[in-house]
Symmetry: C3
Subunit: 226 residues, 3 copies
């Protein structure tokens, strides 16, 4: 059974599976589905028509992850929009904001006060630091790291598989250092390192590692500051 404190406000047709834990003063919308084992902290707000705590799929054509955790944890003060999907095995820290129609896979950690924009996708095994902004429709591929204070513009695209499924390969997403800013609709290739406080122009295609404090733009992107 799931126990729901009296201070929690729940909409109509919302479904709680078993072993869900809910803190004080939580607000949950209508028609939302909270799946087995999900843990929701105090003062969390969740919209309508969400699906939270999804067990990862295991398919012959999709890779497996070793999960450290087996449930979804949403910490205190976090706000989740409407029509959002989030997987089990992921931890959303305190005072995070997740926009409507966003999707977050398993084995992800999102640091305090970060923002995951509307319709953005964060794939499995990724780590998002504190105070990061991931804008609308941006795509954080699997096995990506964003350090603290990173800004990912709208519609930014990343990949983590340089052989595009053709060979067995250790998948590797970008590694984006503290305070870097990626302009809208830029494309980042697998395993790319973007240096601290580096700025990547809108629409750039980044094919190589970039050092700290650079400003780059173009296809392929080049230093435009020196």
């Amino acid at each position: 059974m799931s126990t729901i404190p009296e201070s929690v406000k729940v909409g109509q047709n919302t479904v709680f599976e078993k072993n869900v834990t809910i803190g004080e003063n939580v607000v949950i919308g209508h028609n939302t589905v909270i799946l087995e084992g999900t843990e929701i902290g105090d003062n969390v707000t969740i919209g309508s028509n969400c699906v939270l705590g999804i067990k990862p799929n295991v398919s012959a054509r999709m890779r497996k992850t070793e999960q450290k955790k087996d449930k979804l944890i949403i910490e205190s003060g976090t706000r989740i929009g409407h029509l959002v999907s989030i997987y089990a095995g992921t931890q959303i820290s305190q005072n995070v904001f997740v926009g409507d129609q966003a999707s977050i896979r398993e084995n992800v950690r999102i640091g305090n006060t970060s923002v995951v924009g509307r319709s953005a996708v964060v794939e499995l095994n990724s780590t998002i630091g504190r105070a990061c902004t991931i804008q609308t429709l941006a795509y954080i591929t699997g096995d990506t790291t964003l350090e603290d204070d990173v800004f990912i513009g709208p519609c930014v695209s990343m990949s983590n598989d340089k052989y595009m499924g053709a060979k067995p390969y250790e998948l590797e997403g970008p590694f984006i250092k503290k305070g870097a800013k990626i302009g809208n609709n830029a494309s980042l290739l697998p395993g790319i390192i973007i240096g601290q406080e580096t700025i990547v122009g809108a629409g750039s295609v980044v094919t190589k590692d970039v050092g700290d404090y650079k400003v780059i733009a173009g296809v392929p992107s080049k230093d435009i500051h020196s």
Copy 2:
């Protein structure tokens, strides 16, 4: 209480909050949520699993808007797809089409007969003229203006913050004049003006204002007609 005329056809598990107004011959799907104060005109069609009339979030890390209206208005003859989210403080005019999984924020006005494509996003404070087409997965950033008859291709990306969150800044989206056409996956920078009936090629990155009746393409985009 919300009053629902007898001519309205409503699916199962649909939730109406209080003070919802619904016209004649409206059709609403299953599991849809119509939030407080929403006004729906005659002959409107709404799909299943939508969330309509969302109150804007106010977060320390997100900017506030001064809203002129405090409810969602959907005018007569408009059709809303499935799994759509639309905010309060927005007006969707007559005979508009909003595709499945699209999302429209607060303080937006969409003119008669315009199309907002499947999975497209329209951010806050934007004005869309009459007979515009916003294609699938296109992103209309906040504070954007589309005059009448504008065509935004699939996956077009825009931004409205040239400092990418680094400084306080008056956010400014693109201003796209009557009849302009933006090719698929083009990127538009903050505050860019695109002239009347100008054509922007697919995949272009537009970094400067463009005059009327131009044809531009490339990264950064250049005139390819003269």
Copy 3:
């Protein structure tokens, strides 16, 4: 009436319209809507908050299709994620995987074991072969063909209307031959043919047909192998 075998496991608040056919050992989540006439094969898994079997809209400003089939068919062993929308008149073959928040239009055929990624969109009249991978947030425009074993990277964009709505025109999507691989966020123009096992680099804009076994990249894309 719809008949549901005893071996089927259905969540709460799930809606079945009339004439739905469901095979053995099917699992369906909560708050999902299965519309009139949908056929679901054995061992299919469907998530929560989906809308399946949507009747195509007919609007003055949207084109009509001649549909060969009038219902949605999902064949055995296929797995559909959460918050997915799929139209009537489409056939999803065996052991296909459709990610969360994906959307598939009418008159589409998807071959055995293919993957349609999270938040990807497949528009009307498109044919996807066997063992294809369509990655997250990729956009398959209408009237597109993917032969077998094609890889479409994340955020790839396509278009099918070279006049962007300005003239009557036979819409034509890309034709992508067996084993071709399209890098993330590449843009493909209307009617482009991509040759067998050709590789298109990330962020490329493909403006002309490309032969078999090529490697191309850039804006506009050029052969980078010879």
